[in-house]
Symmetry: C2
Subunit: 298 residues, 2 copies
């Protein structure tokens, strides 16, 4: 596949009041919002505050509150050309006005909520194909997503998995995501909800996929579908299973604990990065400068 020309920005969400289907109920104040720093970076990548932004609130059960929140936040950083796409079902996706808007905006922002709502609503629609085509062919076209909006970005999508039981086989629920990229699995609210086990299980089941655990108020800016740069205030954890020598995942029945030998894990903070195809961790410019200084002294 050719590299996509657009950019993805996958964000781990922020408010720990979210979707939380894993707690068995849909909570009401699922804004999954994050700091202005990340929003500023999104807008900057698209060329500045004159960019036209479309916020897709489909994942959320409280789309109007979520939409207003984005209007305010993007407004605070000087954006004035912001549309809200309150698409609630597959029929809505065929709306000619929506198709027109999605064909002309500079940034598509998927809100948090429930990632299954994104895939079951958009999967296989003309509306979605339009976004995908623009992402693949247009430089400067930005797709951002937080929480559910980030988790749906890859072909492999975790949609559920109780963190406290995620070390047990079968506790992680996966289906097909929106597939802006392959070969990765995004998880969100990563440290706060203790999701290492579930992402590791997903990676062990097919080590071709790199796990990307996004902390809250933290994201990965992805260029060429390959080069990742951590942004925001927290941590992104990378789980690489390519060197796994042994795991019992194919041998045990559901509900049993998984063993894995030799997972490779990286912690990326702001400025660190990762090359997906080469599986190389990138230090920040600051870290590189420190090393250079040490070498100069020696």
């Amino acid at each position: 596949m050719q590299f996509a020309k657009g950019k993805l920005i996958a964000i781990g969400g922020a408010e720990d009041k979210g979707t939380d289907l894993e707690k068995g109920e849909i909570q009401r104040n699922n804004l999954n919002f994050f700091g202005l720093g990340i929003l500023r970076r999104i807008v900057e990548e698209a060329g500045g505050p004159l960019s036209r932004i479309e916020v897709i609130t489909t994942a959320s059960t409280i789309p109007y509150e979520v939409g207003d929140n984005y209007l305010n936040a993007f407004g605070k950083i000087g954006c004035t050309d912001i549309g809200l796409l309150h698409i609630r079902n597959r029929a809505d996706t065929a709306n000619a006005e929506y198709l027109e808007r999605i064909s002309t905006c500079d940034i598509v922002m998927f809100s948090g909520g429930n990632q299954l709502r994104l895939t079951s609503t958009f999967g296989g629609t003309v509306f979605f194909q339009k976004i995908l085509d623009r992402y693949r062919s247009e430089e400067g076209f930005i797709i951002a997503g937080t929480s559910a909006g980030a988790m749906a970005m890859s072909n492999t999508m975790i949609y559920e998995g109780n963190a406290t039981r995620a070390h047990l086989k079968g506790e992680v629920k996966i289906t097909t995501g929106l597939a802006f990229m392959n070969d990765v699995i995004f998880d969100s609210h990563f440290e706060k909800r203790g999701r290492f086990g579930r992402l590791a299980q997903a990676v062990a089941s097919n080590p071709a996929c790199i796990g990307i655990g996004l902390g809250e108020d933290t994201g990965m800016l992805i260029t060429n579908g390959d080069k990742m740069e951590a942004i925001g205030s927290g941590l992104v954890m990378i789980i690489d299973g390519h060197d796994i020598l042994h795991s019992n995942i194919a041998d045990i029945p559901d509900g049993n604990p998984i063993s894995i030998q030799n997972l490779k894990v990286h912690f990326c903070e702001h400025g660190n990065g990762y090359l997906l195809k080469e599986r190389i961790f990138l230090m920040s410019a600051r870290e590189n400068a420190v090393i250079k200084k040490q070498l100069d002294v020696e």
Copy 2:
């Protein structure tokens, strides 16, 4: 993505004594074998019985029995150049002799067994990349797989799911497959094990994927990653969710029954086909001839 130049042959298995992790135990006589008709077609597609065949028994817990079974069966149709690759773990995949053999054979045949064993063993390995590269670039290169070997062929892979509970959300377990193709989900032993519910659930969660339910002793020959032709004695069921108007899958908690409005289903018997991208059912030459005759009479 460019169309792959090789061909895939996905077969639904045959012996109903298989993997059956869904029954909570690994049974011993998992040969998942099928009729000589399909084997003949595999060999024919590769250019005839002089083709070099490598059988990968990794999915099975009884690889030597499964391997012998294939030696006998391919032998009966006149093949003499048959290798068995009893790869048991990730370290085995780096064996230089195996890499050489996989680089020079004409047909790779994945046996039945447990599809998680295929993905957890081969995912992200050089051995697997070699097969994938050959499939993408070489005309006449054939990858066949039965049961587990078929289910692992797409990016989206069902690895478990109790048929009697598959109408309940969360009962279908999915992870990342070997990804020779995207946008489909294969299921095997389809009618015999009553798997319509689980495949429909997988399709509803992201209608971008077409469900391909392979009956026993039945397969799909896939050309250009797109054109499918049913082969063998049974039925292949196609489940297309693109026209779904409503489903509750994003709204209900785990364990609740799923509602889906407007699934499209096709039954393909020997000679029928399906174009994946265009989502068009193809009649057989015989059926076309009957219609032509009727038109001639009118």
